[in-house]
Subunit: 256 residues, 2 copies
């Protein structure tokens, strides 16, 4: 399954908040063998949410996870944005209304218009219970296309994600990976060898991360494959053995 | 000026690296009074880089900053991606070639094909010197449209950004801001008041950040405006005074 993530919130676009939600979701999807092909961040703007969702759908993404924009303030407009992208309206969802009513009853707070707004979901969406906050998430499906909307508050997002992901998007395997740290060789010297290894092991991707300027020459090499089978493990071992041998021949060092 | 950021690298889409580059750029642009309207992350894929650049241009963005994909490995393909988006070729840039030749001469390393690749830029692009690494950045301009390509290594990106930004994208003012922390009131209670304040002060945006679940009720309120004039400062003061007064009337507390 190929995923796209849509992060919503001006706090990300003014650099006030680092987008750890997106990194968390990407990492958790990778652990389950899923590939993420795009991440897009928009502000709290209805047309931006809707137009980027449509763009992602046009680009062929059928599994989209959004974060943010589900709360009680005027600029929480993810439900409306999703509805707009599909040419639908939002409507009060009775299950979400019950959850929200119960939560505010327990806090002895009245159900104001701002609070009630959180149970307005795109027509046909299923609400998803938020155990740590008030705003429900939701799942909107249209044929094979799924949009999972999660809150932006990291603890709430994480809790809903972990509880519901497997049921909505079943695992397809896992990420198989190795990492080694090489000193004494610049990334540009390694480049020829990593390309040859990728040709030999086409299911494995090798990414080199220079950690300092090339003069100092420390490079992290991350080799990984998404797979539903453990067969790739022995390929990873062979690849790392071959890489170690090349590094040593070239006068570099593999740090343990 | 309205900006878009295009971050390039599979390490972001597998959640191995948190996108601090994007947060840094957004924050630095905001400090200079610029607005960021979109951030898009793609993997190291030529067609993805090119198609998302075209998408951003279609969405009306005329100032685009990319990070990543400028190095010596096979999957560093930002220059080609930018060229492709504009229907152009890449060509060896003589100034970039001189810089790269000098750098590898100083390291007593030969100018291999992988190293030489870093001086291939879109036709018409200006190279930008990288004082901390080997791969030059570049600026590609097409009429009023500007694409500034920066490396992905944070130290290199930051250094090039700070040295060149003002000349390429002159400041338009700065971000004027206030932040207060409110306890004892849920975000959903504050929601009515922040909307009224934004109606009264239309140049100011108010974002509420609930820090914990609503039961515990701690909310950071961030009020800000991008402006070339300091007139907005007194408006921010008045807005905060009015908000404090509402919070106290409602039984909440403004923490110092």
């Amino acid at each position: 399954m190929r995923f796209a993530i849509l992060s919503i919130g001006f706090e990300l676009l003014i650099g006030r908040v680092v987008n750890t939600n997106s990194a968390f979701i990407c990492s958790e999807l990778a652990k389950r063998g899923h590939e993420v092909g795009r991440e897009i961040t928009v502000g709290d703007e209805l047309t931006a949410i809707s137009s980027e969702l449509k763009h992602l759908i046009q680009e062929g993404f059928q599994n989209i996870i959004t974060t943010g924009g589900l709360g009680p303030t005027f600029d929480d407009m993810t439900a409306e944005g999703v509805a707009m992208a599909f040419g639908l309206q939002v409507e009060e969802n009775s299950l979400a209304l019950q959850w929200i009513t119960d939560k505010y009853d327990a806090m002895k707070l009245p159900l104001t218009a701002e609070r009630r707004k959180m149970c307005r979901l795109p027509v046909g969406a299923q609400p998803i219970y938020n155990s740590l906050g008030t705003a429900p998430g939701f799942l909107f499906a249209d044929g094979r296309l799924k949009v999972l909307a999660l809150p932006g508050v990291p603890a709430e997002m994480t809790a809903i994600f972990q509880k519901n992901l497997e049921q909505i998007f079943p695992s397809e395997g896992r990420m198989h990976e190795r990492e080694i740290r090489i000193t004494g060789l610049p990334e540009s010297t390694l480049a020829t060898y990593t390309v040859k290894l990728m040709e030999k092991y086409p299911s494995i991707y090798i990414k080199t991360h220079p950690r300092s300027s090339e003069g100092k020459s420390e490079v992290l090499v991350h080799a990984y494959a998404m797979s539903g089978s453990d067969d790739v493990e022995s390929q990873l071992d062979s690849l790392i053995t071959a890489l170690r041998s090349s590094v040593e021949k070239l006068g570099g060092r593999v740090e343990e």
